[in-house]
Each structure stands twice: as C-alpha cells, then as structure tokens.
C-alpha cells in the first residue's frame, strides 16, 4: 500500500490512478503535493502529471460507459471535497470492473451512489451560477460579474454563457479562487485580473470603469424585485432556501442601497 502524490492537476490525479493500476495496487491514499506531509514509514510515490496517461484513463472509462464516466470524474475532481481522490479511484475501479454502462445506475454501489450525489451537488451549483451571475457593464462595453461558488464550477459554466451572450464580451471572475473566464466574441479563455476591477466585498465594479447607465439599470432591477413581492405571502424560510445567504453578497437585488 502506497501513498500517491500528485501535482494538484486533474491530469496529475489521473496519472496516479494509471500508475496504481500499472502497479496492480490500491493506493493507501492519493494526496495533492501541497497537502502532503512527509512521514518516515510511508511508501510514497510521486507521480508526475502525464497528459497521455490521463487521456488513456478517460478514454478507457468512457468506452465502458457510452461516453458518460469521464464527465462525472471531472466534476468529482472540481468539487474539491476532502479525499475525493480516493472516491475517484474507487469510482473508476467500479466502472472498469463491471465493464458495462449500466453500472452508473447501480445506486446500491456506495461509490456510484456517492459520485451521483456529488454530481448532483455540482449540477446544483452550476445551475445556481447560471442564475446568480450578475453582469455589470463597463465603459468599454465588457460585462463583468463576480462570483464566489462553493465549488470550483467556473470551468463548467462557460458554455452556457457563451451560447447565451454570443454578442457581448463578458468576464466571470471567481473571487475565492482568483481566476476568471473571458469571452471575447470568438472564444472563452481562462484569465487572471491584475487591476482592481471589483470591490471584493461588494462585488461592485470599480467606479472609474463602470458604464454611465449601469447604476440606472441596477436601480430599476432592485425596484422591480421589490415591487413583485406579495407581502401577504411572505415566506422568509422558503426565500432563504432558494437564495442562501452566502450568495447575497454579489446579488444586486439583495444589496442594501444604491445611491
């Protein structure tokens, strides 16, 4: 039994799994380099990320599941949950062992069930980001949004916004993980931002770059949001269940005041 250490990348993790299979062993644990604490008694395998090996793992599991398993594994990885690496290993092992797409519907298998629960959780977070992104228009015509999702869903949401806002340039920035995606009317790329674009606590666009009409539309939207409420039906619990408080920070309609 060995501890496998990878560089933190998706490819790195898959390379570990490939190497464990090659060595015909089940890892004791798989950990990211920066979280690994060295102890003398361990058998430690440092596995470099290898895109070729990673691709072989993904092709292998997709071939056994009508092309469905690789997407699930990627979502598990992006969940960033503690010890998700071993779940991924066990999930892949179950897929390879059963060698039939129907394994993904066997919810009596603990790894398949756990994976489907995390997949649902990720799906919910992706859906929330589709809903809660609030663009603010900057003078140069780019629409900016700040988000702070529970999980690392930015790589999963670009397609949706690209399809929807094909005729406007936009940036969605994850303020917790410090990177963003930028659509330039042709394609979407990962970006980092140097200059202070957002106020990190309010998510407001820097006043120097904000478009003149932006605050007007924000005021109209807030006004709309409050006038469609039916006071006689007030149901705060349900409201909070649908819009948990941790997301309020960047939601225009939930912010207190606009000058």
């Amino acid at each position: 039994m060995a501890t496998y250490v990878y560089d933190g990348s998706f490819e790195g993790l898959l390379s570990c799994i490939f190497e464990a299979y090659r060595a015909k062993t089940v890892p004791e644990t798989i950990v990211e380099e920066q979280h690994h604490q060295f102890t003398l008694l361990e058998d430690v395998q440092h596995i470099p990320a290898d895109e070729g090996l990673a691709a072989r793992v993904l092709t292998g599991i997709d071939a056994r599941t009508d092309g469905r398993a690789a997407t699930i594994v990627y979502q598990l990885f992006l969940s960033e949950l503690p010890k998700v690496e071993m779940l991924i290993f066990n999930f892949i092992a179950a897929v390879i062992q059963r060698n039939h797409a129907s394994i993904l519907e066997n919810f009596a298998n603990e790894f398949i069930l756990k994976a489907s629960q995390i997949e649902r959780m990720m799906h919910r977070e992706v859906h929330r980001m589709h809903a809660f992104v609030r663009f603010q228009k900057a003078k140069e015509g780019i629409f900016y949004a700040a988000i702070e999702p529970d999980f690392n869903v930015l790589p999963l949401i670009g397609d949706h916004f690209e399809r929807r806002y094909a005729d406007q340039r936009w940036v969605i920035f994850d303020t917790k993980r410090h990177y963003g995606i930028y659509y330039d009317l042709t394609e979407t790329q990962f970006v980092t931002l140097d200059s202070p674009i957002f106020n990190l606590s309010s998510g407001d666009l820097n006043p120097e770059i904000v478009d003149d009409a932006e605050l007007i539309y924000q005021a109209l939207w807030k006004n709309y949001f409050h006038s469609v409420n039916i006071a006689e039906r007030k149901n705060t619990k349900l409201h909070i269940r649908h819009v948990p408080k941790r997301y309020w920070k960047y939601l225009i309609e939930k912010k207190r005041s606009i000058k």
Partner: protein, 443 residues
Amino acid sequence: MGRKNKCLVYLPDQQSNDMVMHTVFLELQTMSKVLEKLTILSDAAKYDASCSSSGSKRANTFKGLGNSDGMGICHSYTEDGRCVSLLKILFTNHCIYDCAYCVSRRTNDVKRAAFTVEEVVDLTINFYRRNYIEGLFLSSGIFKNADYTMERLVRVAKTLRTVHNFNGYIHLKAIPGASPELLHEAGLYADRLSVNIEIPSEASLQKVAPEKNYSDIITPMNYLSGEKDRYVDDKLHFKSTPQFLPAGQSTQLIVGASPESDTQILRLADGLYKTQKLKRVYYSGYVPIQTDNRVPLISAPPLLRENRIYQADWLLRFYKFSVDEILDEKNPNLELDIDPKLSYALRNPEKFPVDINRADYEMILRVPGIGVKSAKKIVSSRIHQWLHSEHLQKIGVVLKRARYFISCPGLDVPRKDYQMADIKRIILSGEALQAPPQLSLFG
C-alpha cells in the same frame, strides 16, 4: 423566416439603431418616469402566478442575444419565496373591464400607467444582458379594445425578435377577443401564450366579471392549440417550418374567490391538459385585494389549499393519477392536514404494501415518500441487486413515511399490525415535531 439580423419590417416608433449595442441611454428624467411605470406595472402583474421559462428550445442564431435551452432558470426569488425568472409586467393597467377579483379593474382607485413599446424592449434587453432574467412576461389591461391591446404586445415581441435578434423567452397574454391574425403573429414570436380563465366555473365568472364569458376565453385557446398542431404537422414535412409557440399555452385559476370545490377545479384543469394540451395550469390563492362585495372577504390567501391543489396537479401530470383516484363524491375537497398522495394510500389499503423488488414502476410511484427520481433509481438499481431498506434510504426515499406502505428486506416494522388510521396519526405526529410544511410551488 425573417428573424435574421436585419429589420425587415417597418416599425414607426423604432428609430434607426445601432445594431450591435442597441440601447438608447435613458436620460435621468425619462429614467424616473420609467422607474415609476415599472413600479406600478410590475406591482399590478405580480398576481399572475406563472413564472415558468421552460419548455422552449430556441438557439442563439447569427451571434444574436440569448437562447432558451428547454430548462428555465429562476434568477432570483422574492421574499414570498416565488421564482423570479421573467420580467413580468403589464403593458398598461388601464382597463375597460371591471372584474371584481382584479386589482386593475376599472372602478378601482389606483394609479394608472402605460409603457411604450421602446421602454419595454429597452428594459428587457438590458435586464437580459445583465443576466437578471430569462426573458419577458408581458400581460396587459385592456385599453380601447382587444385588438388595440394585442397589437401592442405583438409589436414588443416582434421588435425584440426581429430588430434585436433576441432569442430569450417571451410569454405574452393572449387577449380574449383578439383577432386570429394577431394571435397567429403572436404565436410566431412568443414562446408561450396564455389566456387566464381565473374563475373556475362559468356561473361564478358571470357573477364577478359580468363582461366576460367562457367562450371568449376558450376561443383563442382552441385557435392556438389548433394552429400549433398544424405547425407541428407541417414541420414533419417541411424542415423550414418556423416554430409556433414552442412552449405551448398555460392558464391560471384563482382559488378561493368563488365557491368551487377542489374536485371541480381539478376536473377543469385535467380537461385543459387533455383537450387544449395546456402545458401548465397555475393556481393562485386569492389575495384579498380590496373590498368588493362580489368576492368573499377573507383575511389571508388560502395558501395551504393552493399548495394541496398544486400537489394534486403534480399527481395528475407526473404520477399517472386520475382525478377520480385523488378525489371522489365522498371527498370533494383535498385534505389539508395530509398531502393527496398519502390520502390516496390511506384510502386504498388493499393496494399496499408494494414490493420494492418486484412491483411495477407505476405502483412504486404511488408509495408516499417515494418521488419520481427515487422510483426511477429503484427500478434501475434492482436489475443489479436485491434492494434492502438501507439502499432505499441512500437513494433518497423518505423511509419514515414509505415504510408503512412497502415491503423489502431490512424493514423492521411488520406493517400488518398497523391500521391506516394509526399510520396517519403516527406520520402526522412524527412530522409535527418538525418544521411546518414548506409551501413550495415546485419551482
């Protein structure tokens, strides 16, 4: 189809425009005017329960703006817990009718306002670009006559689609009495049209809205469902046939403004689903708007009753129930203390317990505590292995409810010892310890 990136129609009040970034900057003066209109006309529209933006597939063509991918998105929720998915406004709250249940009725002393076509278009586009909304829900009071009003609604939709290449969701009201030509045009631009029935029987409608009648309401519904059938049929032969009302029609019934029983309401809804092929019937617990002696004086909207009717509606649409199974002559109204599915199970003890490992999908669906998703998971998992109670729990079955109605290995409660009355008492007391039932409209 003319929905390309050129304006093919003459729009008298549409100025020449910059096609790429569309909007005229609103001067501060006009801004405060729009703000006031928006307040009045969204406030008046909020009693329409419909929020859905789903069921339509509209791709973003020619690098335009927006799409509908079949699954609606609730971008926010109001403090009463309802989904905010569309910019839901009235074009105007001026109205020639005097319906007792309606806040915009002629004799009600409220502030009146009317948007212009450009204002609605500008708000829609700018809210949409900021990802506030999925699209527009445009209703209206009737000014002058049906066609005059309908023509304006159609013009908004047409401008959005043809001038702004907007592919987001558009829901328009079909105004009873509008000409077939206008309804037809509306169907080409809108994703969904709705005619609200509001009062669930013609006799009651006569009482509270003497200027309206069922035939005015049903005529446009019939016309639209006929047209939709025709387009769907054409599409089989000609690929170039445009979409016509891809998200179909819906309607709304007000609960508690008139004396109809739940059976009458559900039969009406069931008939609308079957004959008019409506996609949704919405139920709106009557919110006592102002005193008018034609409608009952109540202190609060009947939210629990509304919720039970929605649950029954769900049983009709997704659980393969018929109205007769949910309600009968002895029980014309839904029980308020338990949901209609539990009520069904308690009234039909001979159908239970259901064998989890052998029963048909239809029967598993009927078990209280098992929803559509769990039922599907049970059916797909039991191919691989014999299911035990702990599997069910992990799959998402609410065992403390389902256990009295199923048989499967691992259940420690011998069900036969219980009478149905006991089960109801146990379930109710068990649940009384928890939070009161959430009134969810199921999204």
